[in-house]
Every structure is written in structure tokens, then in C-alpha cells.
């Protein structure tokens, strides 16, 4: 069994109470209406005073003062975890003050009660009653998702108090480092000798901790949670390595090993040291990397726990049998193990755990048929987790949510299961009942079900599935981000990057992009580097850092985008020492692999060298040959302006015309520019230019480049007042663009002065914009 200092203390005081609270069967909220309102009924009986205390603490509580109360609680014990009456007497006044500061910390109230008993203080009864009330609230306030959402606590000591009060034997405890980044879930497996059941309780202090640090800017971003957890487990590894937190750090260290072989070895050691999660992680690693042939070792790590009949170990062993990992496939043995796990956990939770693992394997998991029949039967008997899994499996198999499945999911949704609310909401949206669907999705999202938050955020942001509403989208995206959705974080980062002039926006953009980048999201890392390139104040990086990021991504993650950007910086000397040769070699590698963007970038680089412009044109021709619109547009541009050394206006126009027919806006704009600013009267055609721009404008009055062209076209037709008006608007828009150079802005202003004086703008090829 895992050792933990606090767990050696005496137990059993409130066994009856915890047993009453630990019933894991959710209340069924009734049938009838398919709206989500009835789902809230389950929480109606919550102690409103404690709910208010929690709200007040999370909104206004002083972080340092609250955690000082836990430090005090520790001082009230001997090293063996026994209550120290002398310390209790000495700190009697401090305890009273602490109980006023921290009204909801079960660990503190439990310690205060123990102290009162030890010192025969008359407050013992009142403190016990408060502790009981907090305990009842903790269980009643749980999201009804069969333990998927943890019980909110403030500190590990609170969970410890619950376990001690339960009087049940602690079988194992571990931090789940993988499934839910919003929380740092502490799983505690208890043995209830009276009912012969294994109970799994899940606690989280991370979310409360983050909320209490609301004054820290960094706490707005998910990465803060990661850093808190990292620091917590690293501290634990130093002071108490044989605790769940200490083992969590050991698993972190194992996973950080450079090779899978080393990871496997490190996990084996940690598992052997007494950590169930390490054994489970090893099973996962060996299943996902079958070429490692480490299934046998994984079973060896798991066996000591399975031999003690711990349900998670039995289930994972069943997985090994069903997947023939480390042992021959044996469905009969797998079923026997699942039966035993079901018996220990009750309500088919062994098979539910197994099925949940099978969903991680994707649509065609071979594990599912092994439990389908029993779970279907359980679902028919109103076992909601089973119903959700059956529905999920069917959806994964391409079946729409209909009939009995739909009814069961609705029942589960009404009973408060966020996963069911999400499934049902999506089904409603698919059936064209977007409003009803959205209501269910919002319920699930409100319960911090990350997929629902992601769906809502992205739908509202993009307008796909729901009417676009960015203001509503951003909070959902943020909550999804805190739930670990890197895409949501990146979206938020990019959103705030758009207004890079604002220090606040830059800070937000950086925070979200850093959080996503910390999860290894490539898009976010590239966007973060791009942000750093601006070198704006308040950022953690500059162009030099950007170059370093691009280099790392290019070398370690083989990113062609990163190579192109790195090459761009090398070419310009921004943030790095100028090195066109290195830039060319970076681009050449990808160009030779037919990466079109790299071919175009290489062409651009070669155009800068008068002796190699021909090579540049060849790369551009190659890029265009596949029909890529961007490449063809670039080719037309190069041909028009003679970037290869020799202009070919006819072919340029021919390419632009083709692209314009394909509604390519950039090409249309460029073509219109050519029509309206050229010196060749046979080409000059202001009316056609205006028509081209009208075709692509699509109501976008804010496109400065198109306005600049439009002004030139009006001038070509002789309508200088319209030209001046459009140019004035374009100048205003360009003025707000930090990336537009001063030289360019001067030219925009020059054109405005020409139009106001009734003159056309004629572009001389070779000196153009």
C-alpha cells in the first residue's frame, strides 16, 4: 500500500456518516420534459450556507491566510500523525481564528475537532457538526457523473480527513496526471468492509487553489495550473517521495526520459516502489507501443495489485488479456476479471472502466464486444454511465443517436450527467433543434465538461452550428482551454494577437499561446514565435527568441513552416545573424520535397540575387505547376513586375484572369491594380478594375489594399472625387496597421494627393509598391 504520513492516523470516527455520503448512485430527476431545467433538481438540497461560504471563499478568500490554516493544522499533530494535546492548547486561539478564515476546509475542521476532543474543549460537538455538514455538502455538491468530476477541496488534508472519517481502509491513492488538466485528481481507493465494496473517491484542490490566486495575472491561463502541479509534485518528491504526489513526480520524470525504453524502465521502478498509477501507465505505454514488446513487464508491474484484487488492476489485466498484451488472448479470463471488478465496485463499474478504456482506442476497439452485452443490459436498467458508454460506442460506429439510446441518454442528461447532456445536445443540434441542443450543451459546459465547452466556444466563434457571437464564444473557449483544449487556447491566442498594438491583448495572446505551446501544440508555438517577432513590449520573447523557437521546431519537429520562418529571419537578419546561404539551404530541402510554400519562399529569396533570378522563376513555375492558386498568383505577380529579370505582362494577365474566374481575391486585386495603374493604354481599364473589385469585395469595406486599388481605378476612369474618398479611407486603415512601413504609408499619402489634385497614379515597373 502506498504510504502517506497522514494516513497513519486513527480512523473510524465518522464511518457511518461517510458511508451515507458515499453512495455513488445518482438520483434520477424524473422523466417527462426533455429540457435541461430538471437536471438542476439534484442540487436543490445543498446546504445553502456552506455553498455561500464556498462562493465567498473562492471569490474573496485570502490565499495565504487560508493555506496558513492548513499549516496550523499540521502543527497540531505529532510526527506520527497523532493529535498533540499540548500543541492544541497552545494554539487554541489560533485555531479559533483559523476556523473563521477557513470555513470550508474539512481537514482543518477535522483537526480542530480532534484537538477539542483531546483537550476536552466544549467546542468539540460544534466542530464535529460543522465537519459533518461540510462532508455532506462535499458529496451532495458533486457533479453527478459517477466520479468523473472530483470533489472540490482546498488541500490534500481535506481528502485525508474524509478518508479518516470514513473509517475505511485506504487501498491505494494516486494522482491522475493525464485525464483532466483542469484538475489534479487525487484518486483514493477505499475498502468498505461492511458492504464488501471498493470505493473510489476523487478529490481536487487545484481548481480552488487557482481561483484563490485570482490576483495573479498568470492564473488566467492554463499553464499556471501545470506550473502549480509541477511545483507541488517536485516539492513532494523532495520531502515525501513515497506519497501520491511524490510518485506523480516520479512518473513525470519517467515520461520525460528521452527514449521509450528508458520511460518503460523508469515506470517499472516506480510501479515496483508502490505506485499503482505507474503500473497503469506502463500498461498504457506497452499497449500503445506494441513494438516495445513490454506487455509482460507491464503485467509483472500490475500483478501485485491485481493479486490484492484492486479493481483498477483487475480491469487493466482484463485489457491485457483482451488485447493479448503480455499474455495470450483469453476472453474468458478477461470476463472473469471483469466480473470480479464489477463485484468489488458494484453497478458494473468494472466493465464501465473497461469500456471507457476501449473508447480511447477509437472506433474499432476490439475491447468493446467483450462488455457490450452486459453494459447494454445495465443501460436498460437505468445504469446511466453504461447508457452513455453504449451510446458513445454506437456514435463511434457511425450510428446516429436514436430511439432507445436517445431516451437513455436523455434520462442520464436529466440525472445530471454532463457527458449525456453533451451527447443529447449534439443530437438535438444534428436534428435541427439548435436552441434546445445549445441549452443542454451549456448545462454540460457549465459542469466543466470540456468537450461541451470546446464545442460551444468554437461554434460561437466560427458561426458553424450556432450563430456567430464572439463575445459569448471567448469565455467558453477560455474554460475549454483550462480543461486542456489546446486548440481553444490557440484560437484565443490568435484572437488576441490580432490586436497586437494593445499591451493587454498582447499579454492575453501570449498567455494563451504559451499555455497551448506548453502542451506541444505546433500551431500555437508558431503563433507565439510570430508574436515574439514583433518585439513588442511586455512579451517574454523577441525576434531572437522567435528564431530560436523556429529553429527548435524545424530541428525537433520537422516543421517546414518553422523552417520557412527561420529562413525569413536569416534572410533579413532579424533576431539572428544574417545568413542567406543558410536560409536558402533550409528552404531548398523542403522545396525539393515539393513543399509549395517553401518553393515560393525560395523563389522570392532567389529573385533578390540578380544572378539567380532565373532559378527563382523556375521554382515558382514548379510551385504553380500543380495548380496552387497562391503560387500562380505569385507567378503572375513576378511576371508582371519582371522579378525574374524579364517581364511578361501578357502571361501575367492570363494567369490573373484565370485566378479571378476562380474568385481568388488576391489575384483579382492584383489584376485590378495592374489594370488601373499601368502605363500601357492597351491594358489600362478602370471600369474592369472596379468590376473585379466589386466581385471580391463581399461587403468588406475594411480591406485597405482593395480600397487603395479601388481609388486607383476610380482615378483611371476620371472620377477623382471617388478616388480621393476611397484613398482617404485606405490611408486611415493603413495608418492603424503597425506592420505597414512608413515608406508605404508615404506612398499611400502621395496617391491621395495626386487624386485630390485630379491626377492618376501611374506605377512605374521596377519602382512599384
Amino acid at each position: 500500500m502506498t504510504e502517506h504520513g497522514c494516513w497513519n492516523r486513527r480512523r473510524g470516527l465518522l464511518g457511518w456518516l461517510c458511508l451515507a455520503c458515499m453512495s455513488m448512485s445518482p438520483a434520477f430527476a424524473g422523466e417527462g420534459a426533455d429540457g435541461p431545467d430538471s437536471a438542476v433538481a439534484a442540487t436543490a438540497s445543498l446546504d445553502s450556507g456552506i455553498a455561500q461560504d464556498w462562493k465567498s471563499l473562492l471569490e474573496r478568500g485570502d490565499y495565504n491566510a487560508i493555506y496558513a490554516t492548513y499549516a496550523l493544522a499540521s502543527e497540531l499533530e505529532t510526527e506520527q500523525g497523532e493529535v498533540d494535546a499540548e500543541q492544541c492548547r497552545r494554539h487554541a486561539a489560533d485555531i479559533e481564528k483559523a476556523l473563521l478564515v477557513n470555513r470550508v476546509g474539512m481537514g482543518l475542521w477535522y483537526a480542530a475537532h480532534e484537538c477539542a476532543v483531546a483537550t476536552q474543549d466544549p467546542s468539540a460537538t460544534a466542530r464535529l457538526e460543522r465537519f459533518e455538514a461540510l462532508l455532506r455538502y462535499a458529496f451532495a455538491a458533486r457533479v453527478r457523473d459517477d466520479g468523473a468530476t472530483p470533489i472540490r477541496v482546498l488541500a490534500e488534508r481535506d481528502a485525508d480527513a474524509v478518508v479518516m472519517a470514513s473509517g475505511q481502509e485506504l487501498l491505494y491513492a494516486y494522482y491522475d496526471r493525464f485525464s483532466n488538466p483542469r484538475n489534479f485528481n487525487l484518486y483514493m481507493g477505499l475498502w468498505d468492509a461492511e458492504t464488501n465494496r471498493e470505493r473510489i473517491l476523487v478529490f481536487d484542490f487545484l481548481d480552488s487553489n487557482v481561483q484563490l490566486r485570482r490576483d495573479l495575472g498568470a492564473a488566467r491561463f492554463p499553464n499556471f495550473r501545470r506550473q502549480l502541479v509541477k511545483s507541488f509534485v517536485e516539492d513532494a518528491a523532495k520531502t515525501a517521495p513515497h506519497t501520491p504526489a511524490g510518485y506523480a513526480d516520479a512518473i513525470n520524470q519517467a515520461i520525460a526520459q528521452p527514449t521509450i525504453e528508458q520511460r518503460r524502465e523508469a515506470l517499472t521502478q516506480t510501479a515496483a516502489d508502490g505506485n499503482l498509477e505507474a503500473a497503469m501507465s506502463l500498461v498504457g505505454l506497452c499497449l500503445h507501443v506494441p513494438e516495445q514488446h513490454c506487455g509482460g513487464e507491464a503485467i509483472d508491474s500490475l500483478l501485485p495489485y491485481a493479486e490484492r484484487h484492486y479493481a483498477p488492476a483487475l480491469v487493466l489485466l482484463a485489457v491485457a488479456y483482451s488485447q493479448a498484451s503480455g499474455t495470450a488472448r483469453d476472453d474468458k479470463a478477461a470476463r472473469a476479471l471483469l466480473d470480479a471488478a464489477d463485484e468489488r465496485l458494484g453497478e458494473r463499474r468494472g466493465r464501465i472502466m473497461f469500456a471507457a478504456l476501449s473508447t480511447l482506442q477509437g472506433k474499432t476497439s476490439p475491447m468493446w464486444p467483450l462488455v457490450r452485452k452486459e453494459l447494454q443490459k445495465a443501460a436498460d436498467g437505468e445504469n446511466f454511465p453504461a447508457a452513455i458508454l453504449v451510446a458513445t460506442a454506437d456514435i463511434s460506429a457511425g450510428k446516429p443517436l436514436l430511439d432507445d439510446n436517445l431516451k437513455r441518454v436523455l434520462a442520464a442528461a436529466k440525472a445530471g450527467y454532463p457527458a449525456a447532456q453533451f451527447l443529447y445536445g449534439l443530437a438535438m443540434v444534428d436534428h435541427g433543434r439548435a436552441e434546445a441542443g445549445a441549452a443542454w450543451l451549456e448545462h454540460a459546459a457549465d459542469a466543466d465538461f470540456t468537450p461541451a465547452q470546446s464545442w460551444l466556444g468554437k461554434a460561437l466563434y466560427t458561426g458553424k452550428g450556432m450563430p456567430a457571437d464572439v463575445d459569448r464564444a471567448l469565455p467558453w473557449l477560455a474554460r475549454a482551454g483550462h480543461g486542456g483544449d489546446a486548440a481553444a487556447m490557440t484560437l484565443l491566442g490568435r484572437y488576441h494577437s490580432r490586436d497586437a498594438d494593445s499591451a493587454t491583448s498582447r499579454e492575453l495572446a501570449q498567455g494563451w499561446l504559451q499555455s497551448a505551446a506548453a502542451l506541444g501544440n505546433l500551431d500555437a508555438t508558431l503563433a507565439l514565435a510570430e508574436l515574439y517577432e514583433s518585439g513588442a513590449d511586455g512579451l517574454d520573447g523577441d525576434a531572437k527568441r522567435a528564431a530560436s523557437i523556429y529553429r527548435d521546431l524545424a530541428e525537433q519537429r520537422d516543421s517546414a513552416v518553422a523552417r520557412r520562418r527561420w529562413a525569413r529571419l536569416l534572410r533579413s537578419g532579424k533576431g539572428v545573424e544574417r545568413d542567406p546561404v543558410k536560409a536558402e539551404s533550409l528552404l531548398l530541402g523542403d522545396a525539393q520535397k515539393n513543399d509549395i510554400a517553401s518553393q515560393m519562399a525560395l523563389a522570392s529569396l532567389l529573385f533578390a540575387n540578380p544572378l539567380r533570378r532565373g532559378e527563382g522563376l523556375a521554382w515558382l513555375e514548379k510551385a504553380s505547376a500543380g495548380g496552387d492558386a497562391g503560387a500562380r498568383g505569385e507567378l503572375a505577380f513576378a511576371l508582371w513586375y519582371g522579378q525574374s529579370g524579364r517581364a511578361d505582362p501578357a502571361r501575367a494577365i492570363q494567369l490573373w484572369q484565370q485566378l479571378a474566374r476562380e474568385n481568388n481575391v488576391d489575384a483579382s486585386n492584383n489584376y485590378a491594380w495592374a489594370l488601373c495603374t499601368g502605363t500601357d493604354s492597351s491594358v489600362s481599364d478602370g471600369i474592369s478594375g472596379i468590376m473585379l473589385l466589386q466581385a471580391i469585395s463581399d461587403g468588406r469595406s475594411g480591406w485597405a489594399g482593395a480600397l487603395d486599388t479601388l481609388a486607383a481605378c476610380h482615378a483611371t476612369t476620371g472620377d477623382f472625387s471617388a478616388a480621393a474618398l476611397a484613398q482617404q479611407r485606405a490611408a486611415e486603415l493603413f495608418a492603424r496597421m503597425p506592420r505597414a512601413s512608413a515608406r508605404f504609408k508615404d506612398r499611400v499619402a502621395h496617391r491621395l494627393s495626386l487624386y485630390t489634385s485630379g491626377q492618376r497614379y501611374i506605377e512605374v515597373i521596377g519602382g512599384g509598391d
Binding site: 517499472t268 515496483a272 509482460g296 503485467i299 509483472d300 500483478l303 483487475l314 499474455t327 472473469a336 470480479a340
Partner: protein
């Protein structure tokens, strides 16, 4: 562990915290009343006129240490010593308060030791201050006197008597005050004694005074620890007064494993000015030339004379005095410092340190080997060199041999020592005062030139064919002092008891252990080398037995014990090391065919100025091995370096715990796993069926 068992002589100079209630005597007062308890008596009387009774503060100053957080407070500690007009008289006044209810019983219990042969105990006052009022709690009928027997455990009879007083009805908040005197000093000291007191306690002290009254013409000498303020000196026609005072003294936290010479508590010791030569002259008067030795001893001496060299003759004589003359001291009156005649000691076959030392010197003299008794302090070591020279600075006597090849120091109270004279073990006495005509001062006591203390342990594990069980063979080789200790253990407890003890040691590590062969002992006296071999069958040697792997946990306890962390880690005092000491510990695991060690060959050297440690591990043929060695380089680590040294110890300790993991051949691993899986699934199926049947019922 060997005891230094000859506690002699002094009581006053190095007054320990445990005997703070020893007080000096005063002349009987007019109102003195004597109370008899059998053959012993004590008196109740007022303090003598020369005593200046101090006032106890009415409240504990909030700025003083102990205002909060202390479990015990000393309101007043006052020692007054009269050394004028021929007096040797010690007055003591202590007022203290237990803050914790757990200490109330201690606060109400007093034990005062005195020697009725030449001392009187006079009780002046026993009172309790409750709610600001002093209550007289002295009831002479409740004072008991008893012969002090505790020294019998150390084979000594001292003649001391303990007065025991137990206070009833003591409550939290009570301040208990006790004032006593002890009048008289052992006349054998011839006035060459000293007086002294500590100036800090293990609990906070509000007010401290030490007052010493010398003859008016005396020239006092003092030792005064740095933090104590110099004495204020006043002179009256009757006496010269030196008075030391301190207020608000913080508690001293005792730190374990400090070198014996380190003074943990600041102290003042005073006496009249004299030299160590004066003390040596006094000692010589106690060691006159011996009377003729008995015939049987002379015959033995004649036999030893035939031995080839002086070293062997000395070793033979030493061993005889150590092991044929039992240690027992009757330290009463003159006997506290005057040794018995060697002939009598030999005849009665018992004696204390001075008796045995004088006997050995007499035997060596009979063989024309120059040797002298030498007085040392076993509890304070070289620290006595700082004190004013006095006869009570010593508590033990050893022998100095002046051989042509050098000086050897021998301790005849020890036993089970073997080997050559130049390799004999003595404690860290630091300095000695030889009882020789040419002695003018203390001389350094160096360790004997060939002295060693070396332990080498080898543990070899040989797994059986099935890889589940193993045989463990242990070979321990002890040389020098280590051999003395091992021999003493074997002699005192017997091989069977030691064998059981050793087997239990391995049972704690490997749970199921059977003794496969009886303990074998090979004792090579000439080289003082002792080898012990053990052999065990280990049913469950593996910490980890996963089917594919086995893990063996190993602890080089020989090394780990040498680098054990002291109880106090945040230290301000130096740390003593066993020195010299060399230990090596080797582990071997013989690998069955196909087994593969998953570790890597490693070499590591961890060096500290005070000690060195090396580790190496690797594979030699089919044997995995590790070898660790430790060697002390200094006898102590200064307080300024202790933190760094302890970091080194932690690093070494971490290395001394090893887990060897070996991979089994895949066929063995697969079979083991298959067996366990089958057992598990079968058990699970049986359980499932039983559950099903139960439900049907």
C-alpha cells in the same frame, strides 16, 4: 561497547547538571536540628552567616528567554562556596518552575548526594511560591536517606548517601525553591580541590550567581568560558570574594555526539593558584613504592621475562591484569584516590583503575620496564588542560609505559584486548598527568602507534536453481579495536546468543531466514584479528519479484552506521567521529545462467575533510559485486563544517542503500508470470462462483 569504569575522585570541579543540588557545608548553627535515618543523618538549619541569600524575582521579565514556549523555567540558581578559614563548604539555592504538567512530578522531587564519611547535609529551606506567597514545605520527617547503590552497576562502591525529598500538592504555576548546604570535603584531596558551576542550563535561567569566598591572602585561579562576565572582586577582613552573575540566560540545547572535550555548557571553575606539578607531587604521595609482590606473581613475572621482546612482555602482563584481576572499586574515604598495595590487589584478584594500574606498573618494574600510573579524565578528555590545576580534575587512571621504541598508553581496566602492546586501544583521553618524579605538567596522550580499528564485511548471495530462494554467506573480519569489541560481545553473550542476534538482523531485512550453518569464529590473538562467518537460507530474498525481474535490496550497514546522522542536525557544536576507523563492505550476487544485471559498472568517490568514502560496483564473471569503504580522517568535525559534513553523510548514506535489479531469462520470466496469472484467474473464478452461489442462496 567498553565502559571506562573507574570514576574517581572529584565531585566539585566538574559538577554535572545531574548533581546540581550538591552543596557545600557550613558551620552548625545555633538552631540546627539533626535528624537521623539509621546510621546516617542530616540537619535542618538556617544558612550560615557568610551566605548572602538571594531574592527570587516576583515575575518573569517578558523580555527574558523562557517568557514563552519553555517547559521549565529556572527563576534562580545560586551557588556559594566557602574556601576560607579552612572551610570547604558549598551552599546551593535553586528556584524553578515546571510549565508543563508532565514535569510537575520532576519539579517536586529532589535527590541530594553526599558522603557522610566526611560531609554533612544541611537543609535550609524547601518552599513553594503559589499566588505570590511563599509556603514552607519542608517536613524533615519526609526526608529519607539511603545508601547510593547505583554505582554498583559499574562495579563501584563509593560510600555516598542520597537524601530523597518528594513534595506533595504541587500545581502548575508553583515555583519550588530548595536551599541546601554540604559541609566538608574528602581529606585525601589535601585542599587541592576546585569549585565550579555551569552558567547556562537546558532550560532558561532568569538569575544566576556563583560566589566563591577565598582566604584574604589567596591568589585565585579561574577558568571562565567566554560568555560569562568576569567576577566582581571584593575583600573583607574575613575573606576575598569573587562573584559571578548572569541574568536572562537562554536555554542550551544539548547536541548529541559532541566530542568529550567540548564544553556544552559555559562554566566557571576556580581554585587557589597552583601548578600541575603540585598536583603530581600530591599524587606521588599516594603511590609509594610497592611492598614485595607475592611469590606466585613473581613466578609469572619470571615466565614473562622469557618472552622475546619488551612488547610481548608488556602485552602478557597487561592481559593478566586486565582479565585475571576483576574490576571492582571500593572508593570510600582514602580509597577514592589512594591505590591498594599491588600484592593485595593480586591476592584478592580485584581492584579499580588505580589499583590495577599500580599493580601493572609494579609488575612492569619487576621486569625492568619503566612505567607510571597516569591520571586522566575519561569524561572531559583534554578539556581539563584549561582548568586551574587541581586534584579533582581526574576520574581515571591508566598506565604510561616508557619503552625504548616510544611511549605506550595502556588501560588495565579493559578486557578482551589482544595483539601487541604498541597496538593497544585507549580512549580519547587527550592529556594525562603521569605520577612520576619528572612530571611538571600535563602530557599529551597519543594513540598507540600501531593501533587500528578495521572492519571488513562481505555478504554473498547465491540464488538457487529456481531463482526464488538464495543462500547468504557472510564473512566479517575485525582487526584491532573492532576485534576487541567483537570478542567482548562473543565472550559476554556467547556464540549462540550472538548467532541469534545476527540471524534476527537478517530476518528484519529478508523476513524468512533459516540459519544454514552454525556461527564460526576464528580468533587470531597475535594479530588481534577475529573472523566470524555466517550462512543462511533466504526463502524470500527479493524485494521485487515480478516474474521478469528480481530486485535485491542491500544496505551496507557497516558503512551506514559510520555515517549515521546525529539526533541533532541543526548544530552549533562540533561532532565527534570514531577515529581511527576503517570499514569496508562488499556484496556479491552469483548470477544463475541467463540472468542479467540491469545496473551499470560504477565508481564513486565521496570525499570530506573528515572522512573518505568510495564505492564501486560491477560484474566479475558471473558475480555482480559492489564494494564500499569508509575511512575516518579526523576525530571530530568543527561546528563551522558540520552542515557540510552532514550533507556528505547523507550522500554517502544514500549510496549505501542499493537496489540491484536483475532480469531473468525470458523463459523463466514468462513461466513465472503465467503461473501467477493462472493462480490469479483461477482464484477470481472461484470467488465469482462463490459470489454467484451466495446470491442464489
Amino acid at each position: 561497547m567498553h565502559f571506562l569504569r573507574c570514576r574517581a575522585i572529584a565531585r566539585g570541579a566538574l559538577m554535572s547538571l545531574a548533581v546540581v543540588l550538591l552543596l557545600t557545608a557550613f558551620h552548625p548553627q545555633a538552631l540546627a536540628e539533626t535528624y537521623r535515618r539509621g546510621e546516617f543523618a542530616f540537619e535542618v538549619a538556617a544558612a550560615p552567616a557568610w551566605v548572602r541569600v538571594s531574592d527570587v524575582a516576583t515575575k518573569w521579565d517578558p523580555s527574558a528567554p523562557g517568557a514563552q514556549g519553555s517547559s521549565w523555567r529556572n527563576w534562580l540558581l545560586d551557588s556559594q562556596f566557602a574556601r576560607f578559614g579552612g572551610r570547604r563548604w558549598r551552599y546551593f539555592d535553586r528556584a524553578s518552575e515546571a510549565i508543563s504538567p508532565e514535569l510537575l512530578s520532576e519539579a517536586g522531587k529532589f535527590e541530594v548526594e553526599f558522603n557522610p564519611e566526611f560531609q554533612r547535609l544541611i537543609i535550609h529551606e524547601l518552599a513553594v511560591r503559589r499566588d505570590g506567597h511563599w509556603l514552607d514545605r519542608l517536613n524533615p520527617e519526609h526526608v529519607t536517606l539511603a545508601r547510593r547503590e547505583s554505582e554498583f552497576e559499574r562495579d563501584m562502591s563509593t560510600g555516598s548517601v542520597s537524601a530523597m525529598i518528594v513534595l506533595d500538592d504541587l500545581r502548575l504555576g508553583d515555583v519550588v525553591r530548595a536551599r541546601f548546604s554540604i559541609d566538608g570535603e574528602n581529606p585525601i584531596m589535601a585542599g587541592l580541590d576546585s569549585d565550579g558551576s555551569p552558567f547556562a542550563w537546558n532550560s532558561p535561567l532568569l538569575q544566576r550567581q556563583m560566589r566563591v569566598l577565598f582566604d584574604p591572602a589567596a591568589k585565585p585561579a579561574e577558568f571562565r568560558a567566554a560568555p560569562i562576565a568576569p567576577a566582581s572582586v571584593t575583600k573583607t577582613p574575613e575573606y576575598l570574594e569573587w562573584r559571578y552573575a548572569a541574568h536572562f540566560v537562554a536555554a542550551i540545547n544539548d547536541e548529541d555526539n559532541a566530542p568529550i572535550w567540548y564544553r556544552t555548557h559555559p562554566q566557571v571553575v576556580v581554585s587557589e593558584k597552583r601548578s600541575w606539578g603540585d598536583v603530581a607531587r600530591w599524587a606521588r604521595s599516594l603511590y609509594p613504592p610497592p611492598a614485595p609482590l607475592p611469590d606466585d606473581l613473581l613466578q609469572r613475572i619470571e615466565q614473562w621475562r622469557q618472552l622475546p621482546d619488551v612488547e610481548k612482555r608488556v602485552a602478557a602482563a597487561l592481559r593478566t591484569v586486565q582479565e585475571e584481576v576483576r574490576y571492582f572499586g571500593i572508593e570510600i574515604g582514602d580509597n577514592t584516590h589512594r591505590p591498594a598495595e599491588p600484592a593485595a590487589v593480586w591476592t584478592q584478584r580485584h581492584g579499580d583503575c588505580k589499583d590495577k594500574s599500580r599493580l601493572l606498573v609494579a609488575i612492569l618494574a619487576a621486569m625492568d620496564i619503566e612505567a607510571y600510573p597516569a591520571m586522566v579524565n575519561a569524561n572531559r578528555g583534554k578539556a581539563i588542560a584549561e582548568l586551574p590545576p587541581s586534584a579533582d580534575a581526574f576520574d581515571h587512571v591508566i598506565v604510561q609505559v616508557r619503552a625504548k621504541s616510544g611511549i605506550w598508553w595502556l588501560d588495565p581496566t579493559r578486557t578482551q584486548q589482544r595483539g601487541r602492546a604498541a597496538a593497544q586501544e585507549t580512549s580519547d583521553f587527550g592529556v594525562a598527568l603521569p605520577v612520576a618524579a619528572d612530571t611538571t605538567g600535563l602530557v599529551a596522550v597519543a594513540r598507540n602507534p600501531d593501533f587500528t580499528d578495521r572492519t571488513s564485511v562481505s555478504e554473498r548471495f547465491e540464488p538457487d536453481a529456481d531463482g526464488a530462494t538464495a543462500t547468504l554467506s557472510v564473512r566479517s573480519e575485525y582487526v584491532g579495536a573492532a576485534a576487541n569489541r567483537a570478542r567482548y560481545d562473543l565472550q559476554r553473550n556467547g556464540n549462540d546468543e550472538v548467532s541469534r542476534h545476527y540471524a534476527d538482523f537478517y530476518r528484519r531485512r529478508y523476513s524468512e531466514v533459516d540459519v544454514a550453518a552454525a556461527l564460526q569464529v576464528e580468533d587470531e590473538a597475535e594479530r588481534n584479528r577475529l573472523v566470524v562467518t555466517e550462512r543462511y537460507r533466504l526463502a524470500k530474498p527479493w524485494t521485487l519479484n515480478t516474474g521478469s525481474e528480481r530486485a535485491l535490496d542491500l544496505t551496507a550497514d557497516t558503512i551506514a552506521n559510520s555515517v549515521a546522522l546525529p539526533a541533532t542536525l541543526d548544530r552549533h557544536m562540533p561532532l565527534a567521529l570514531a577515529f581511527p576507523a576503517e570499514n569496508t563492505h562488499r556484496f556479491e550476487l552469483k548470477m544463475p545462467a541467463g540472468w542479467r544485471w540491469k545496473g551499470e559498472s560504477t565508481k564513486r568517490e565521496l570525499v570530506d575533510p573528515a572522512a573518505a568514502y568510495t564505492y564501486r560496483a560491477g560484474v566479475d564473471g558471473d558475480v555482480v559485486f559492489s564494494e564500499e569503504s569508509y575511512a575516518a580522517r579526523q576525530a571530530s568535525v568543527g561546528a563551522d563544517r558540520v552542515a557540510e559534513h552532514l550533507r556528505w553523510r547523507r550522500e554517502v548514506r544514500e549510496q549505501t542503500f542499493q537496489r540491484w535489479i536483475v532480469a531473468l531469462p525470458s523463459a523463466v520470466a514468462d513461466q513465472a508470470r503465467k503461473t501467477r496469472l493462472n493462480d490469479l484467474v483461477r482464484g477470481v473464478m472461484d470467488g465469482n462462483k462463490a459470489n454467484k452461489d451466495k446470491k442464489h442462496d
